[in-house]
């Protein structure tokens, strides 16, 4: 391990307060680009903090469990595709995509024993260098890649294959969601494309670092999924140029973790002790509902955002609609006309006031709803009356 490699990593590792480091994978990096403005996530990821453990310690464990049925099926599918040196995968790429594929060499770079990530990365580099020189058909399974994230070096252990054909590398990603009649769930395809883009980026950095043209890593990746309702794999080429552009731009924009860390009060760490809550709160988060699907801290941040009445908890479209007014109380006051808007909020305030008037008018003119058929019970005593909600009670 060279000194240079470890330089920044040690800088922030003290923030972990002695806890074990967690690594980035393409999922976390792709997720990072979904919310680049979140300082909390940036710092915790940069310091390789185990966010899941932190969230659980704070009482907001993320429900990211996976069903063993899904795991079993995913593993079985991957094993099938990769069996016998990826025989089935090769046949698929030949037939389905009409690729002229000569004999290829297959190397599994999966971790053997206790070797360090740096050793594995060196091995990946070494094999890639040879393949790039010779241009011969090669498949590398489980390459270990590296990517700079917010000034920090992250290792990626993609569950993908780097596949060289005609002097160009393609990323092959095996996923276990089904493609039915040529269509799959858009969210899952989008997530897979984002992850693949991260791999393409990391591979390109590696190739460039070896003195080759980074374009030798293709923007066309192959998604291998079960076809229809079977276990038979099908391969679909996906152009990830749009995702690449997004990932690249967001990574460049990422708030530099060191700068944020420098502003944190001295002595705070993410160690799992009584100071944890203070540390976490010391770094600002930018919660959006999308965080729920990608960040282990989401439940904690949502609770925090709700407690301070942030409009962001309602989703980006609502926040946009409110023209950047990020407090629920402010927005309601503007709508009721009890608060003078600042100049930049004048337009939003006017829109809100008109909306409030139209809403009042419409509700007043509406026919009274019939009482619900099944509601024989009287209103329970514990329920706050309408209009006497959370905000009023605390105000």
């Amino acid at each position: 391990m060279s000194r240079d490699d470890d330089h920044t990593a040690t800088d922030l590792s003290h923030l972990r307060g002695g806890e074990t480091a967690r690594n980035h994978d393409a999922r976390t990096i792709a997720a990072l680009t979904a919310n680049p403005g979140c300082a909390r996530r940036g710092v915790m990821d940069a310091a390789a903090v185990d966010k899941d453990a932190v969230a659980r310690h704070l009482g907001f464990g993320a429900p990211f469990g996976q069903s063993q049925f899904a795991i079993t099926r995913g593993n079985a599918f991957e094993a099938q595709v990769k069996a016998d040196g990826c025989a089935e995968l090769l046949a698929l790429l030949r037939d389905r995509l009409g690729l002229e594929i000569p004999e290829v060499a297959y190397d599994d770079l999966e971790s053997v024993g206790t070797e360090s990530r740096e050793v594995r990365h060196t091995r990946t580099r070494h094999l890639m260098a040879r393949a790039l020189e010779s241009g011969a058909g090669t498949m590398f399974d489980h390459p270990l890649l590296r990517l700079d994230i917010a000034g920090q070096r992250a290792y990626l252990e993609p569950d993908v294959i780097a596949f060289q054909l005609g002097g160009r590398f393609h990323v092959v990603e095996v996923k276990s969601f089904a493609v039915v009649d040529g269509q799959a769930e858009p969210e899952q395809v989008a997530a897979a494309a984002r992850q693949s883009a991260v791999y393409v980026l990391a591979l390109r950095e590696l190739v460039a670092g070896l003195g080759h043209d980074p374009e030798r890593v293709s923007h066309e990746v192959f998604l291998v999924c079960p076809e229809n309702f079977s276990n038979r794999p099908t391969a679909t080429p996906v152009d990830v140029r749009p995702q690449l552009a997004v990932v690249r731009r967001q990574l460049a924009r990422l708030t530099r973790a060191e700068d944020i860390a420098r502003d944190m009060p001295d002595g705070l760490t993410f160690a799992l002790d009584e100071g944890l809550s203070d540390t976490v709160r010391a770094v600002e988060a930018r919660y959006a509902p999308e965080c729920m699907s990608s960040c282990e801290m989401a439940l904690f941040c949502r609770d925090e955002a709700r407690a301070c009445g942030a409009t962001g908890t309602l989703g980006r479209s609502v926040r946009d609609e409110l023209g950047g007014v990020d407090s629920v109380v402010t927005a309601l006051d503007l709508a009721r006309g009890v608060r003078e808007p600042s100049e930049d909020m004048a337009e939003t305030a006017e829109q809100l006031r008109v909306a409030a008037r139209l809403r009042r008018e419409a509700l007043a003119s509406a026919p009274a709803p019939a009482p619900p058929v099944q509601e024989a019970l009287p209103a329970p005593a514990g329920v706050p009356a309408r209009g006497a909600g959370v905000l009023e009670r605390t105000a």
Partner: protein, 490 residues
């Protein structure tokens, strides 16, 4: 998303309860809908695990595949489900009414009623669609024969799922979507996708308010997910051991009973919730255009039902003509659905007013007998001046109609600050004086909108046999293929 809905959501946060975004119900509700709560096996595209269904809240039927990976058990389940769905379809048909013959003299009929299926969420619709896809091509003869009911189920489910794509159709409703059309909560659309959380805001259980009920709903132990995905912890700790025991026992009834009990525990809370959601929706007065849209649904049902015996299963992918026609239909339905909802519901009309496409206010002066005598014959063209506080964004010359009386048409003559001068152009009768009560009078509150239903008519498309070469020429006829009959369903 509009500022009005955003505002309703803010109000919901303040009040701790869901706030209305509709004053009437914009969907048809059958008296006996078939409520279906499907569950699938995690990790599989469409491997059914169980479905709780029925038309009576007190008598749910539970259908379970004790070993979801077993082909025979799965097709047994599909046949059982098929019988229930087909039975519902036939029971909900009602009598056949004969309509006026069409312009070209063709006989036209319509069933008096139509079946309605209710699922908890969008995932439920997607699952029924995939279940339909995986069963409709099955062969009922030959070496891979399945129960004849199985492909029928596939075709019916495919039809229901397809109708769900049509804006304004009520044949297959996802409750979360339907509720969101009528109420706004203090949480994001992501959380609203959880039926229990959404209902927590709309109708919180005793002693709770919206936020606390929604928080409770996020605990999968207290409120199991509404499907089709199951709670992973339930899978790992309860379902997997029960299925393993079933396998080991060689399919013993007691082992199957254990699985049924486990699955029922996951389904019953959602079952109750679905019926409570229907109660909430039923309590709203029905929108004026709902019967008209339900008529379209009944037309579609009548056609599909009468052609059923003669038709092949729906294609995997639409051919060119079908795709073009479908897209056209979807766009038209979308437009008329949005327009109708606004006419039915002042709260929806408020969206148009906020956007400046409609305006409301008080009539300040009128010239009810004004005639336009510039042409050969004089025409009745009353002037109406309306004072409005709305942000009108209409051009002079824009055509508008009265929201309360869409037949009454007019044209914007001039907009001067808060005053809009309209020239009424139609819908006042055939004489040179307007029918009484049609021209609004000073002091009256009126709303006019520029958005009308059916502003563009149906387009003509070639018959399938006449598909032009630019679109690949006529598509091949459907031939049942062995490949379809044997398609692995694992």
């Amino acid at each position: 998303m509009s500022t009005l809905t955003a505002l309703a959501q803010l109000e919901a946060i303040a009040s701790g309860r869901a706030e209305p975004v509709a004053t009437v119900r914009h969907c048809h509700l059958s008296e006996t809908p078939l409520v279906m709560i499907p569950l699938k096996l995690a990790g599989e595209a469409a491997a059914p695990l169980a479905t709780m269904l029925g038309t009576d809240r007190n008598e749910p039927t539970l259908m379970v595949v004790p070993q979801p990976r077993n082909r025979d058990l799965r097709f047994g389940y599909a046949a059982e489900l098929a019988k229930a769905v087909v039975e519902h379809v036939e029971a909900e048909r009602g009598a056949t009414e004969t309509l006026e013959p069409s312009k070209d003299g063709e006989e036209r009929v319509r069933y008096e009623r139509a079946p309605q299926i209710i699922v908890p969420n969008r995932g439920g619709v997607g699952f029924l669609r995939l279940l339909g896809r995986s069963t409709r091509f099955r062969s009922v003869e030959g070496p891979w024969a399945v129960d004849p009911a199985v492909p029928m189920l596939g075709r019916w489910l495919t039809w229901f799922a397809d109708r769900n794509d049509r804006p304004g159709s009520s044949l297959l409703l996802a409750l979360t979507e339907t509720l969101r059309l009528h109420w706004a909560t203090g949480q994001s659309s992501l959380e609203d996708g959880n039926l229990a959380a959404l209902m927590g805001w709309i109708d919180p259980p005793e002693g709770l308010d919206g936020p606390s009920a929604a928080a409770r709903a996020e605990d999968p132990v207290l409120c199991p997910p509404a499907g089709p995905a199951t709670d992973p912890t339930f899978d790992n700790e309860v379902l997997a051991p029960a299925i393993a025991a079933f396998d080991e026992s060689g399919g013993e009834p007691r082992a199957e009973e254990r699985i049924r009990a486990a699955v029922a525990s996951q389904l019953v809370p959602t079952w109750d919730l679905a019926w409570r959601a229907l109660d909430m929706l039923r309590a709203l007065p029905e929108g004026a255009s709902v019967p008209k849209r339900w008529e379209r649904d009944r037309d579609s049902f009548t056609y599909f039902h009468r052609e059923f015996a003669e038709s092949p299963p729906q294609a995997k992918l639409d051919d060119a003509v079908r795709a073009a026609r479908r897209l056209h239909d979807l766009e038209r339905s979308q437009e008329s659905y949005e327009a109708q909802r606004a006419f039915d519901d002042p709260l929806v009309m408020a969206e148009q007013r906020l956007a400046g496409q409609a305006f409301g206010g008080v009539v300040t002066e009128t010239e009810p007998e004004r005639l336009d005598e510039s042409g050969k014959r004089p025409k009745l063209r009353p002037y109406v001046r309306i004072r409005t506080e709305d942000p009108v964004r209409l051009d002079e010359g824009a055509t508008v109609v009265n929201a309360a009386r869409p037949g009454l048409k007019g044209k914007v003559v001039e907009i001067d600050g808060q005053d809009v001068l309209l020239e009424l152009t139609g819908g006042m009768g055939r004489k040179l004086t307007a029918e009484p009560g049609v021209v609004p009078e000073p002091g009256q509150r009126v709303v006019f909108t520029s958005r009308t239903a059916d502003s563009w008519g149906a387009s003509k498309f070639p018959e399938r046999e006449d598909t032009p070469w630019t679109h690949g020429g006529p598509p091949a006829e459907y031939e049942p293929a062995d490949e379809d009959a044997t398609e692995v369903w694992s």
